[in-house]
Structures are given as structure tokens and as C-alpha cells.
């Protein structure tokens, strides 16, 4: 095959094995997979950008809300205490408590919120068919880098384990903020379903390269 004749813009390369495929218009609900390793290359969901934007906005609101509502209620030793996530982060304990709580807060609040904001910034103008904002490519890259570091779903399991461990010492009940975090996990699952990096980059690229 004469490689010089290939137009790169008509190609999709598999990110996992580098195999070249012909890019083409995929119909709604269809998935394009790598012929060699099966990796999903692109998918098309109806109104994908709308839905992604909706999940990002919902997430940002839920994260902000989860900060201020009681997360957990503790009854023990004759006292009853309800704590929000902000209480938990700002109740500076001794020793390693503070650094540890700050790291955890980054994973479950700061990073998810930054990621949702970056996605909103990227997708908002696209949803209305307008040109992306300045730096949208950078924002979207940033959102993708943050993805594995956003750990709400792991935290939920952590809370459940903590409740089992604490059962002997105090009576604990879950507050609205816990259920908000749980809702975030469900929204993230929906987001994953609608997420096609390739399509969003194509849309972004149409504007930046023109």
C-alpha cells in the first residue's frame, strides 16, 4: 500500500494498539471497535453532548450541595452530633489526621468539582452549536486527566466499611450529603455511557482547525 496517499484525517488509530482504521460517519447507537484488540474507538449516542453537559451540571450541583448538608449523624456517649463534610475537613485533628483528610477531600470534592467545571466549560458552547470557548481543548484535556483521580464511588464504599467498624462505639446514621454522593456515582455511570472522547474532539477540532 502506498502510505503517502493516505489522508490522516480519514483515519482513527486504536489508542491501545496503534492499528489504523478508516474513520466514517457512525450511525446512532453504533460503536466502532478496533479490529485487532476490540478497544472501543468511537460511539454515537443520541444527544451525547446534551446528556454529558447535563451530567456535568448535575454533578457540580450535587458536589456543592454535599458540602453543606449533614453527611453523617453520630450518637454516642450521651451526645448527638451531625457533621457536614466541611466540618469533617475543618475539624483539625492532631497528627496525621489533617493531611490525610485534605488528601481525601481532594479526591472526593476538589477534583470531581474541577472536572465537572472543565467539562461544562468545554461543552456549553458546543451544545448551542457555537464555537468553543478560548482554551476549551486544554480544559477538556484537563478533565480527562482528572478522571481516574475522582473517587466518589470508592469513598461511598469506604463510608459503608467505616460504619461497620464504628458500630460498636457509636450509633451512626447517614445524612442527605451521603445520598448526594451516591447520586453522583449514578450520574457518573450515565456519563460513562454517553462519553465518546473521539466525538467531542472531532467537534472541538472542527472549530480550532478551520
Amino acid at each position: 500500500m502506498n502510505t503517502a496517499s493516505i489522508d490522516p484525517s480519514e483515519l482513527i488509530a486504536c489508542p491501545n494498539c496503534d492499528l489504523l482504521h478508516a474513520a466514517r460517519q457512525i450511525s446512532e447507537g453504533e460503536r466502532l471497535r478496533c479490529a485487532r484488540c476490540g478497544t472501543k474507538l468511537a460511539s454515537s449516542r443520541p444527544n451525547a453532548i446534551d446528556r454529558l453537559l447535563a451530567s456535568a451540571v448535575t454533578n457540580a450541583i450535587l458536589i456543592a450541595g454535599a458540602l453543606f448538608f449533614p453527611f453523617i449523624q453520630l450518637d454516642g456517649g450521651g451526645t448527638r452530633q451531625s457533621a457536614t463534610l466541611i466540618d469533617a475537613v475543618s475539624a483539625f485533628g492532631g497528627g496525621l489526621t489533617t493531611p490525610l483528610v485534605l488528601v481525601v477531600a481532594a479526591f472526593i470534592i476538589v477534583i470531581p468539582f474541577m472536572r465537572a467545571s472543565a467539562l461544562i466549560y468545554t461543552l456549553w458552547p458546543l451544545r448551542f452549536g457555537r464555537a468553543p470557548y478560548q482554551g476549551a481543548a486544554r480544559a477538556f484535556r484537563f478533565a480527562n486527566i482528572l478522571k481516574p483521580w475522582s473517587m466518589a464511588e470508592i469513598f461511598i464504599i469506604g463510608v459503608v466499611v467505616a460504619l461497620v467498624k464504628i458500630a460498636g462505639i457509636a450509633q451512626v446514621s447517614l445524612g442527605p450529603a451521603f445520598w448526594m454522593l451516591t447520586a453522583i456515582v449514578l450520574v457518573l455511570l450515565l456519563e460513562n455511557h454517553n462519553f465518546c472522547r473521539w466525538t467531542i474532539w472531532q467537534t472541538l477540532g472542527k472549530h480550532t482547525q478551520a
Binding site: M1, T3, I6, P8, E10, L11, A13, P15, N16, C17, D18, L19, L20, H21, R24, A35, C37, G38, L74, G76, G77, T79, Q81, A83, D87, V89, A91, G93, G94, G95, L96, T97, P99, L100, V101, V103, V104, A137, R138, F140, R141, P148, M151, I154, F155, G158, V159, V161, A162, V164, K165, I166, I169, A170, V172, W198, W201, L204, G205, Q209
Partner: protein
């Protein structure tokens, strides 16, 4: 046009590298060789030249921090004046004693089995790349993907300790403090995640391409 309509159409098993092109790992654009991707601005490499070293360096860092994570206490509990220290394994055994078998299983797998398996898999993948293995590239890629997907879940125990410490300091009956192991373990998980992310999966397939394209 007929070709473009066929999802199975590949360029005769041609990879971007063989075609003299570079695929951007960040946005997927296939481009003629250049320094920076013209669509997303990420650095463009046919294969990340530092992938092997970075993966190995983060892996070693992750393994080193795994040692204090298991030797030192994870949790220091003070109930009615009695101090009790528990390590990661100690915490799992305690859960078994309380007959919380399922929770013990979850914590044990996340804190001990997953990190060890992850070290082994990344080590194996590095060996396979260096040794130019040609067998089972699909299985190796699959192992890599599972590792990347599951590695983050090791963070459970760190979250548990942070939640207990933050909660119980609001209460004066007991006090709970994280031990050195909590921070060491968090760092071990972070470094191992960075190690997996540094691996350029395309390297797994390169030794295959050498033979299959020499027809």
C-alpha cells in the same frame, strides 16, 4: 466510499507507526509527524520514549511505600484511655473477629490482593515489552486494562481511616488517629496509578508488528 462504510476496514493491518504517522494519545487525531498535536496541543509521540523508565520508576516508588504501609499502624484507636494500634492486616483480622466477613473480604482484597497483583502485572508487562514477547498481546492488554480499572479501589482503606478519624474526633468517648501507614499506603496507591498511566500500551503490540508485516 465503500471502504469508508466498512467498520472492519483497516489499512491491511497497518499501524500508524508503520504508515509513518503518529496517533495522538490524548485526542486520537492521526497526524504527520510533528512535535505537538495540532488539535489538542498535547505532546505527540509515536511511542512515549520515556514510557518504560517512568513506569518502572513509579512502580518501584509504589512498592517501596507499600512496605511501611504494612509494617506501621494504619489506625490508632483510643477508647476509654486504652490505646490500640492496628495494621492493614490487623484491621482485616479484626473485621473477621467481628464476623463482618464480607466487609473483611472487600478490605482485604482492596488493600492487599489488588496492590500485590498490580505490582505483578505491571512488572510482567514491563518484562514482556523489554523481552519483545510475541504471545498473547490481547491478554496482556486486557490485564493492563483490568489493572488500571481496579487499582484505584485500593484507596478504600485510606478513606475508611480518614472517615473514622474525622468522625470520632467529634466525639469524646473515643479518639481515632491515622498512623504512618495511612499516608504511606495512599502514596503507594497514587504512585502505582501513575506507573500504570505512564505505560504506553502500544508498546505491547510492537514486537507483533515486526513479524506480521515482514511478509
Amino acid at each position: 466510499m465503500d471502504n469508508l462504510a466498512n467498520p472492519r476496514k483497516t489499512y491491511a493491518g497497518l499501524t500508524a507507526r508503520k504508515a509513518g504517522l503518529i496517533a495522538c494519545t490524548t485526542c486520537g487525531l492521526v497526524e504527520h509527524p510533528r512535535e505537538i498535536c495540532q488539535r489538542c496541543g498535547a505532546a505527540l509521540h509515536s511511542r512515549d520514549p520515556q514510557s518504560f523508565q517512568k513506569t518502572l520508576a513509579w512502580l518501584i516508588a509504589g512498592m517501596i511505600f507499600f512496605i511501611p504501609a504494612n509494617l506501621y499502624p494504619m489506625l490508632i484507636t483510643n477508647t476509654f484511655g486504652t490505646e490500640q494500634k492496628s495494621t492493614i492486616i490487623g484491621g482485616v483480622i479484626e473485621l473477621i473477629e467481628y464476623k463482618s466477613y464480607f466487609v473483611a473480604l472487600v478490605v482485604g482484597v482492596a488493600s492487599i490482593v489488588v496492590p500485590l497483583a498490580k505490582f505483578a502485572v505491571i512488572g510482567l508487562l514491563l518484562a514482556s515489552i523489554r523481552g519483545r514477547w510475541q504471545s498473547n498481546p490481547y491478554q496482556r492488554l486486557h490485564l493492563y486494562e483490568i489493572t488500571e480499572f481496579i487499582g484505584r479501589w485500593s484507596m478504600i482503606d485510606v478513606f475508611v481511616v480518614a472517615i473514622l478519624a474525622a468522625l470520632i474526633q467529634l466525639n469524646f468517648v473515643a479518639s481515632v488517629n491515622p498512623g504512618v501507614a495511612a499516608i504511606s499506603f495512599a502514596l503507594s496507591v497514587i504512585f502505582t496509578m501513575l506507573s500504570a498511566q505512564s505505560l504506553d500500551q502500544r508498546l505491547i503490540w510492537d514486537s507483533m508488528n515486526e513479524t506480521s508485516n515482514h511478509e
